[in-house]
Structure formats: C-alpha cells, structure tokens
C-alpha cells in the first residue's frame, strides 16, 4: 500500500495539500500518483502570481508513460513553485511529500482545504478504484 501521511489532505485527482503555518497551501502529487506515472522526466511548474480555481489544471508532470495535468486543490494565487524540479523531476518519485513538492498557493479561503479528503477517505477511494 502506498504511503499516505495523516496530516495531509487529498484530492480525487491525486494531489496532496497541506496548510502551513504561514497560511500558504503546499501542493504535490501522492505516492500512489507518482508510482502510477512511473519515472518522471519533466515537470512544468505553474506560472507564479497566476490566479487558479479549485480543480483547474495548472501544472504538468510527464513520465515515460504519460503526461498528466496537476490540478490546483484549492482556489487562490500561485506564490511559489519548486524550481529544483526543473533539473530533478525525479524528486517527485523519490520524495513526493517532501523535496518533490510542486507549488504553493495563497488560498482565497483558508478553510477551502477542508473540502478535500482525509488520508482515510483517499485510501478508501484508491481501494475502490482497485476493485474496478
């Protein structure tokens, strides 16, 4: 079973989100997502200062198998992106919840993140998908 930290929130589209002390939301993709994608060869990080809606595609990860959109889990403004991923997209594979983070968003509403799934909900969703 893939690794699912309990202190994170999860989107159905396989992003994780964490509300930090500075009020910003850090976003990445889940361990399950990186494993399904396989070795990443390219990450297109989002444009800084751009306004995003929840569920809007704003970054792209590309692996040897596929290119896949990353959706903003909450609405807000992109204030930071992980520049290390330019040269080291493999960080998303090796450390999806740490050095492989993708972007940080200043959320319009701080409690927007509460709409997302808990680790348990997300795990349940993965298990159901697996049964299909």
């Amino acid at each position: 079973m893939s690794n699912l930290p309990g202190d994170l929130k999860y989107a159905a589209t396989h992003e994780w989100a964490r509300l930090d002390d500075d009020g910003l939301v850090t976003v990445g993709i889940t361990d399950h997502a990186q494993e399904a994608l396989g070795d990443l060869v390219f990450v297109e990080t989002p444009e800084l200062d751009s306004q995003v809606q929840a569920g809007e595609g704003c970054a792209v990860v590309e692996s040897v198998k596929a290119a896949s959109d990353i959706y903003a889990p909450v609405a807000g403004v992109i204030v930071d992106s992980n520049s290390r991923l330019q040269d080291e997209p493999e960080l998303v594979n090796s450390d999806p919840y740490g050095d492989g983070w993708i972007m940080r968003i200043r959320p319009e509403e701080e409690d927007d993140i509460e709409r997302l799934m808990t680790a348990d909900d997300y795990e349940q969703m993965l298990a159901e998908e697996d049964e299909d």
């Binding site: 070795d39 060869v41 590309e62 198998k65 493999e90 299909d132």
Partner: protein
C-alpha cells in the same frame, strides 16, 4: 548483435562511389553564383558497396508491416498494397511540376477530385479538402475552421473546446494551438462519454467538442446523436477525429451522426505509408456550414474540366497548409486504394477490421487475460489490462510489450488510453490472417508463462533485437538528435 556504425563513421577521406549525373539537367544551370557551393558537400565518403550494405542492414533492422504483425492500437498499421505505390509512381504523376498549368494537369486533378468525392460520400460530409499534410495538420485545419465559423458570425465569446478524457493526446494540443481553452469530459463505466458531465460543461463559451468514435477505448459511442444535438443546441460544433475511421468505413457516416468536420488519416484508413515519418496525409471533410472555410486549394469540376479553387473562390478559407496541393503523391496512393476497394470493399474493410479485433479479444479473454470492457463488443481495437500480471507476477504491460518484440511482434500501444492501468491497446486491422492472430495469442501466453517461471526474465527483454531495453528516462531527458563530424561514435550497448 552487431551495432552498425553511422554511415559517416564508415567513411575515409577520398573514398568515392561513381554515379552518372542526369544528362538532361546541366549542373548549376541558371543558378546564380552566390547560391552555388564553394566546396564539396560534407557527405560520407564511402564506396558503393558500403552504401548498399549499410542501408540493406538498416532496413533489416526495421520492424515494419512488411515484415511483422504490427497491432499498434489507434494507428491502423494495415498493409499498403503494392499496386497503390506502382500506380502513384507513373511517370505522368512523378514528373509533373507543381507549377504546371491546369491544362496539362487534368489527369492528376481528376484523381484528386474523385478522391474528394469518394471521401465525402463515405463520411457523409458536404466537401473535402486534401491539403493537410499530416493528421496533426488535419486536426489543426478542422479546429481552425470551427474558429473561423464562429468568428465569421461575430460569435466571439466561444473560447472553449470540450475533449473527452479518452481522447487522443493530439486533440487538446490542437485546441490549444488554435487558441482555445480545453475542458475535459469524463467517461462513464461502460466507456461512453458521461452525458451528464457534458450537459454541465456546455454553454455560451463552447466552441465545439472533439470526439473519436469509436473512442480510444475501442468501443462505439452509443449516444452520439444525442450528444450532437446537445452540442449543436449550445451553439457548438462537432469535430470527428478520424483516427478510428477504419472501424466504421462504409458502415456508418460521421456526417449522419451530426459531425461538422472530420479529419481522415489517409495513412491509416486509406493505406498510405505510415510510421517512420510518413509522409502522412490528413484530409478533412466538412459539413455545409464549414464549406466556405476549407483550406485551399480544392479541385472543382466544371463541365468536363477541372480547376483549382483558391482564395478567390473561397474568400473565407482558413488559408493554405502547404505550398502546393498537400502530399499529392500520398493522396494518389489513397485514390488508387479507394478505387480498388470501391463502395463494397470499404464496407468489407470495416467488417474484417472488426471481426479480427473481436476474434483476437475473445481468444485472449479465453486464455485468461483481462479484457477491459468485457460487456462491450470491440470495434476495430480493444484493450486488455495486465494489472493482475503486474500485481501477481511483477510483469508490467511494458515488460510484455518488450518481450513481444523477441517473438517477432511489434508491441501494441502501451499505457494508452491513460484511463486503464497497465493496458495494451490492440488493433489487428483487416489485413491479417487468422493464423497470424493465433500466433500473437500464443506469444502472449508464452510470455505469461515465462513471467510465472522467472519474473525477472522479462525485465531485460528484448534479448534478440539490435538494441536492448532502453533507459527511457535518460532518453527523454538527454535528447541527442543530431550528429556532427567529430562526434564520438555511439557506445556499444552493454
């Protein structure tokens, strides 16, 4: 396996092969001095025998439809009958200059005109333009026409193209190239477009929808007329990605389903050369309302004479996509193919493409492979998922794909569509025999047995090809596409 050096690396200074310059074209005739070379071109300096051996050996390394079964899903790698090549290379076609006036081009123009008519008839469209030089250009032309149509009506607020998530990756790319935003529509559990989600997404911002039918999931979109009604009611147009046209040729017509524009990959459905750079041909067909926007030139028949329709005849055209008339040589091959088939033959293409796919699907299912939509009849292609094999044996779709090469089969499309885990998308086409299909099933069973005995064995495959398992990550990250004199030779593969 020997690793042949590049032709440049085989050269030695001063080594030459003799060739007779054509007598009817004096060297340098009429070319201003400033455009002439100062020194000889940097060509490989090799003997004739070296050239012959080099290219013969390279051709022997090719995996091609002429040598192997090539069930690459959504690509329709069917046999290209030799007769099409032979007739398209008649001297009258080959030697015609693209600037030749209409009066001496009536023959080729009549062929192009008849092909336009045949394609319009078999797709149920009002008009056809043969100018797009590849599938991607055909797609571009299609969406550019949708855009031109809305703008010509002053309908400028439409900025969104809907694309189902099972679509070809080129569809969203095309929409973006044409200046549109893309909105994805999900698929329901049976492989149809989610109609409720479509209703939600439609609105005054909808320029159109791009659809493949049968879809890349290998099933026919059953509620297509209902979808067409919904999209049209919202003011949008329907674009048909013709990649899977082989499945319905002569049986059902996109025009009757309500589509406004279709691109046809002549290099798929109409059997022109395909793969390895083509050249392709992405003819487009349009409904009445898009006729004024077709790319030019188009051939028109007036009485007994043919003439080119240009910007003068179609002032609202999206313009030209090539300097002359597309890939005429390729289009001529499609013309011969269409004439050889005739109306009945086109229907037989779909009959046997579908029969072969369903036969192969049933045989693989009987051998215990997981068919992804067991409740649906396959169209001309189908999906199996190797999820179980990956989980239980550690043998992934990629491992099977690579090992198939050792068995003499080109791998099916792997990991596409993205919606299905560990999938192979298999399209046998109508030109394969039953024995060939049986051989493929046998290979799949053997590979699974190998995986059961020794899961690691497949990880190293292929074993018998000139190039072994590639480092795909490195290949994607460190692109190395050009060679310059002095570049060190390729390292022998481990």
């Amino acid at each position: 396996m020997r690793n042949d050096p590049l032709i440049f690396e085989q050269g030695r200074p001063g080594r030459r092969a003799a060739a007779q310059a054509p007598g009817d074209f004096p060297v340098g005739a009429g070319i201003p001095d400033r455009f002439l070379r100062a020194g000889p071109a940097r060509l490989p300096e090799v003997s004739e025998l070296q050239v012959v051996r080099h290219y013969t050996r390279l051709s022997q390394k090719n995996f091609s439809i002429d040598t192997q079964f090539y069930p690459l899903g959504s690509c329709t790698m069917k046999y290209n009958p030799r007769g099409c090549n032979r007739l398209a290379m008649l001297p009258g076609f080959l030697d015609r200059h693209p600037w030749a006036p209409d009066s001496v081009s009536q023959g080729v123009m009549s062929c192009l005109h008849d092909l336009q008519e045949m394609l319009a008839e078999v797709t149920g469209m009002a008009g056809v333009s043969l100018t797009p030089m590849a599938g991607a250009q055909g797609e571009f032309a299609g969406v550019a026409m949708i855009r031109a149509y809305h703008l010509a009506r002053g309908d400028e607020a439409r900025n969104e193209i809907l694309v189902p998530d099972a679509a070809h990756g080129t569809n969203p790319a095309t929409a973006v190239m044409c200046g549109y935003k893309v909105r994805e529509i999900p698929t329901d559990r049976d492989g149809d477009v989610d109609l409720e989600a479509l209703k939600q997404a439609l609105g005054p911002q909808t320029a159109g929808i791009m659809l493949t039918n049968p879809s890349t999931l290998g099933v026919f979109e059953r509620r297509i007329t209902e979808m067409a009604e919904l999209v049209h009611k919202a003011g949008g147009l329907l674009y048909y990605d013709g990649a899977n046209l082989n499945a319905i040729l002569g049986k059902a017509r996109p025009g009757d389903m309500g589509f406004d524009v279709i691109h046809m990959n002549l290099h798929k459905t109409f059997s022109t050369p395909h793969g390895g750079g083509g050249p392709g041909s992405g003819a487009i067909g349009v409904s009445k309302r898009l006729l004024p926007h077709m790319p030019v030139p188009v051939v028109a028949r007036e009485g007994e004479a043919y003439r080119w329709l240009t910007e003068r005849d179609l002032p609202q055209t999206i313009g030209r996509l090539s300097a002359f008339m597309g890939n005429t040589g390729v289009v001529l091959r499609a013309y011969v193919y269409a004439r050889m088939l005739g109306r009945e033959g086109m229907g037989r293409v779909a009959d046997f493409a579908t029969l072969n796919a369903n036969y192969l699907m049933c045989r693989l299912r009987a051998e215990g492979f997981q068919v992804w939509f067991p409740q649906r009849r396959a169209s001309h292609e189908f999906i199996i998922s190797l999820k179980q094999e990956a989980k239980e044996l550690g043998a992934t779709a990629m491992d099977f794909a690579k090992r198939l090469l050792d068995y003499g089969y080109h791998a099916p499309t792997a990991y596409f569509p993205l919606l299905v885990p560990e999938c192979l998308l298999i399209e046998p086409t109508e030109t394969e025999t039953r024995e060939e299909l049986d051989g493929f099933v046998e290979a799949m069973v053997c590979i699974r047995d190998e995986a059961r005995r020794d899961p690691d064995y497949l990880k190293q495959a292929p074993y018998t090809l000139p190039v072994r398992r590639l480092d795909e990550v490195r290949a994607a990250k460190e692109l190395d596409l050009k060679w310059l004199p002095g570049t060190p030779a390729l390292k022998e593969q481990e």
